[in-house]
Point group: C2
Chain length 404, copies 2
Amino acid sequence: MLIVEKYGGTSVGDVDRIKNVALRVKKGLDQGHRMVVVVSARSGVTNELIARAKAITPEPDEREMDMLLTVGEQETIALTTMALHALGVPAVSRTGHRAGFRTDGNHLRARIKEISGGDIHEQLEQGKVVVVAGFQGSSPEGEITTMGRGGSDLSAIALAQGLGADLCRINTDVDGVYTADPRIVPDARKLDELHYEEMLELASSGSKVMQSRAVEFASKFNVPFEVRSSFNDNPGTIVKEEVASMEDILVNGVAVDKNQARIGVGNLPDRPGAAAKVFQSLSAAGVLVDMIVQNIGSEGRANITFTVPKDDVFKAEKALSLALAEFEGAYAKTIGDIAKVSVVGLGMRSHSGVAATLFEALAEAGINIEMITTSEIKISVGIKPAQADDAVRVAHGAFNLGES
Amino acid sequence: MLIVEKYGGTSVGDVDRIKNVALRVKKGLDQGHRMVVVVSARSGVTNELIARAKAITPEPDEREMDMLLTVGEQETIALTTMALHALGVPAVSRTGHRAGFRTDGNHLRARIKEISGGDIHEQLEQGKVVVVAGFQGSSPEGEITTMGRGGSDLSAIALAQGLGADLCRINTDVDGVYTADPRIVPDARKLDELHYEEMLELASSGSKVMQSRAVEFASKFNVPFEVRSSFNDNPGTIVKEEVASMEDILVNGVAVDKNQARIGVGNLPDRPGAAAKVFQSLSAAGVLVDMIVQNIGSEGRANITFTVPKDDVFKAEKALSLALAEFEGAYAKTIGDIAKVSVVGLGMRSHSGVAATLFEALAEAGINIEMITTSEIKISVGIKPAQADDAVRVAHGAFNLGES
């Protein structure tokens, strides 16, 4: 098999961990696989570099930031390759540019255009392990670019697709994807497999195992991948298109996001385009809106309540004050912090029993639901942040997600 | 004027020093010059990277070392460019590869083949300062290479030549080239100008202001350069082909090298090829032989005494024991540490008075001369290391090199 695997910043955090990564890669090789390894910068390095840049100028040029930040992964590919050599494993390093990561020219948030893989297949033919710098690529003008936070996951999955790999492994500091955060729910269970959509919902709801962008790419190009630990050999969670248990299990996990604030927009004319105008203004300001609830109020005026990341509240208020100016009497108001608890599972929408079970269990525990949104595979409730952990435990228990 | 200037690791050692470099570059720009800046890695960074590599494997692959080490300069070009931006100066960074440094494929000690400058002239036309990573280039295969210690000086001088610059400035942590080390000779005087050859002799005799290789390149392609301080605006020392005072001053400086050991080879047959065999073996072992003295001993057997860097003694002994095996009765013996004190000046050879003055002054000071070698522009004596500083002061005084 051709395996592309990724090790994040914690997994290559120091010299000993890098040696450990090399041992693991060698194990794959000894099992007869061809191995391509995507690595991140050592944990902390990127933040150190950013701090140095900010100490020079509060708004560093984005091109120069990319020139600066790519240094982190370049160090790791060299050290990891040396560690493989030390084990007698033939290996060679490749920067993002030489691994054929072609991106657009948007520095710090470049989007992948094409992955040629450069000469990686050739190197593999020669029996070498190829160690690739994650997070980075190059623009049509030959400028060094980076893909933003979580870019190394994306690099690995995109490279697996570009090379036609048989498997992509995302090695991380957790054993896989759990039914809930084990720090909140002691009997949370590791999932054997998961559909892309479920993974996306769990990730975007705060189970920050992987960045959504990488999962979206995997889903779009149907790249199966395994999330597993860098520090042991336990089987992880396979994320893919066809999931064996698809028809049986309704709820696969409970996620929580405590980082949201709730904003209400009131007295909006209930006519086509008014709500659109509100959300266009937020989108233009770069605010990520999550849950949205709309009611029709009195006299044909609408009220909309939605949540945004806490950090975006100021931006959102600024955007709204401009956007609402044209609607007489309309106002926006930040209501306060809110926690979002979501139960996620393929096909749950067709089983209204899921919603009933969730609402009933929360009610019994004395937890008041302030907002509700649903999607094909998720039901989310907005509740008081202080009750969030309780709500996760209650939901986890209500759907019998614990160890069997 | 088009000025290429170089700032070494100490000059860009931290964020504040990088800001200081930017201020100095801006000053050049404000004076109407076009500026290209070559920078090294922050001091300490290269050693940290080497230490990390050595912690992984005692003999890291040279290609991967280059991948690793070039990270240091890449960080500095980005930070320096940001610092220029912060002052409102348009600037752009260039890696060695993009600055068109083409080298051979010898990793860690690549030799320059050609400097195209990439698009540097274009960027200068647009009014930008171009910040170039020293020490690095790329091979015909597109591999990242480095040029070895002192490579940033070489980068600056070679780039000045490649771009047809009007001046090359080597900014360093000393004010210029002195008649002797001011820590040894309190009244040592800064030289206004110096010929390439003199600079070479002073550098290779231990006044480690610059690496010989960079001076050799400057001499070969006739690139005038100025050695001056990064931390003040004092005029430095101009090193060039035509020196105004060439006919007047015989001795320009006194240098000392305390890092040598003396080896004797005895009872060697005095026939063609015997001495050659000895020095070929040392050269093949990578030992840098410095002073060489040969006497004909009794019965047509030769004795050769020479000096090597202390660190090379073991290598030298190993090479000699093999090389001498074919000469019956010949032996090698490490005699001990020796210090080399040199007086340097253009045209001194034709004035035998220089040697006489030096020997007499040393004799008067009770300093015994154990070896003597001479070149066109230098007389060196080997003496006991404990007397080295005294010898420098005595020679400096004997030629009236102090402040006038």
